[in-house]
């Protein structure tokens, strides 16, 4: 197993995949180092590359004319940046920007989609893992919407 494949296996979204599938996924990825402030995704842009953060941090933001960038969530080691490459029309829904220097794996989305089309078992395993990640983050976002800290407690 290559160093990159070992690295991928540590990320929750790729954990448990067979070595053969990890090798295919790694074949669509390349290591990349970027400074803080690098724009990874641009709302409306073509979702042709998504990222796995090896180390560092990134922010997902929505631009607002009145308020500037609204920070929705931060992503950290072993998190995936970008889901829209999975679904047509393959356009980013929000901005993604590094907030620290990042070591990334950048994936060629078309390459990986092609591999999934060619090997439905890989496609299923990958979709299953991305769905779990999406549900996890959807649940976290729901909790954020509850604004639980803003409610008056019964005491204290």
């Amino acid at each position: 197993m290559s160093e990159l494949e070992s690295e991928l296996a540590q990320a929750p979204v790729f954990a448990g995949l067979s070595p053969a599938h990890l090798a295919v996924i790694a074949g669509c990825g390349r290591e990349q180092h970027v400074p803080s402030g690098t724009v990874l995704l641009r709302e409306g842009g073509t979702a042709d590359t998504f990222y796995l953060i090896r180390t560092g941090a990134a922010a997902l933001e929505v631009q607002s004319p009145a308020h500037g960038p609204l920070l929705i969530e931060t992503l950290h080691d072993h998190d995936v940046v970008g889901w829209s490459w999975l679904f047509a029309p393959y356009r980013w829904q929000m901005d993604g920007r590094t907030t620290r220097e990042c070591a990334l794996v950048a994936f060629d989305a078309a390459c990986l989609r092609g591999e999934c089309d060619a090997d439905h078992e890989l496609g299923y395993e990958l979709m299953r893992r991305f769905a779990a990640s999406i549900v996890d983050r959807l649940q976290a976002t729901r909790l954020q919407l509850l604004d639980v800290y803003g409610r008056a407690p019964a005491s204290a």
């Binding site: 929750p12 941090a57 922010a59 933001e61 500037g68 960038p69 920070l71 929705i72 969530e73 931060t74 950290h76 080691d77 907030t99 620290r100 649940q139 976290a140 909790l143 954020q144 509850l146 604004d147 639980v148 800290y149 803003g150 409610r151 008056a152 407690p153 019964a154 005491s155 204290a156």
Partner: protein, 285 residues
């Protein structure tokens, strides 16, 4: 690990319904709606308490409310509370000036199992105003740092300006507490985590076999924290929560704070999750 009942280490003195006068000696504004106050009992006696216990704090003419003790158990001469101004009584307490006399009943309730957790790792998970009830436990564990493995604090707040004890967090880190902080919303200048506190659990890399969890915050947050901790392997008998209910007498007489067969003021506020889990599954409770 056997289910440990949270210790009840310091009973309220005789006449627990009679407030003891205490002088407000200092006040500090922590956030837009939260103050930390220091009280000195007029009796001159030290106010012994265990971390996690609470008092019934009153302001004459404004009412009485249950407030957790956020001070250091090793410094019982001063009673420290961190109070959020959310109603008539808490607003009066927060706006009181040094020299004011407040009423204190207590301490009441159970405490965090800091002694029982010795020899293992501890994760402290707090949300919003849930950090002050854990501060005493943190200070006690840091004072005996060599008796613990990893000490990890997961702290979630509404926004960076609503975080409590920010300067102290840095000092605690220097003393061996791993601190992970997240906020629900922040501007681009915030370089820390944005997201709910449950998302920090996986990042903490906890060992479920050796870790005891102590949690305090909004009940919704704790319910989801318990799930997140369970997902990484912690069992219910290793998780402790501080519950909030309508506590009025503080001594288990009035029944306002009943939760299933328990009274939160008497049998809690710190409970083992194993104990309260069945009752929290009943929506009407």
């Amino acid at each position: 690990m056997d289910v440990l009942q949270p210790p009840r280490e310091h009973a309220a003195p005789a006449g627990p319904m009679l407030p003891a006068p205490a002088e407000l000696v200092s006040t500090r504004r922590d956030t837009s709606d939260t103050w930390t106050i220091a009280l000195r009992p007029l009796s001159g006696e030290p106010f012994a308490f265990a971390p996690g216990q609470f008092v019934m704090l009153s302001s004459v003419g404004h009412g009485e409310v249950p407030i957790s003790i956020s001070g250091d158990p090793a410094e019982p001469e001063c009673l420290i509370h961190t109070v959020r101004s959310v109603g008539l009584a808490t607003a009066a307490i927060c706006q009181a000036q040094p020299g004011a006399i407040l009423g204190v009943r207590g301490p009441f309730g159970t405490s965090w199992p800091v002694q029982a957790a010795r020899g293992g790792d501890v994760v402290i998970a707090a949300g919003g105003i849930g950090l002050p009830p854990l501060r005493g436990a943190i200070l006690e564990m840091l004072a005996a740092r060599e008796h613990y493995g990893r000490l990890v604090l997961l702290y979630g707040g509404r926004s960076p300006d609503q975080l409590l004890f920010t300067e102290e967090l840095e000092r605690w880190q220097q003393r061996g507490l791993e601190v992970l902080v997240t906020v629900d919303s922040a501007g681009p200048e915030w370089l820390g985590h944005v997201g709910v506190v449950t998302r920090l659990v996986r990042r903490a890399g906890l060992d479920p076999v050796t870790t005891v969890a102590m949690m305090c915050g909004p009940e919704v947050m704790m319910r989801f924290l318990v799930v997140a901790l369970g997902d990484v392997g912690l069992s219910a008998d290793r998780m402790y929560v501080s519950m909030e209910r309508n506590m009025q007498c503080g001594i288990g007489h009035c029944g306002h704070c009943q939760l299933g067969p328990t009274l939160v003021c008497r049998d809690g506020a710190v409970f083992c999750w194993e104990t309260v889990r069945p009752w929290l599954a009943i929506r009407e409770l």
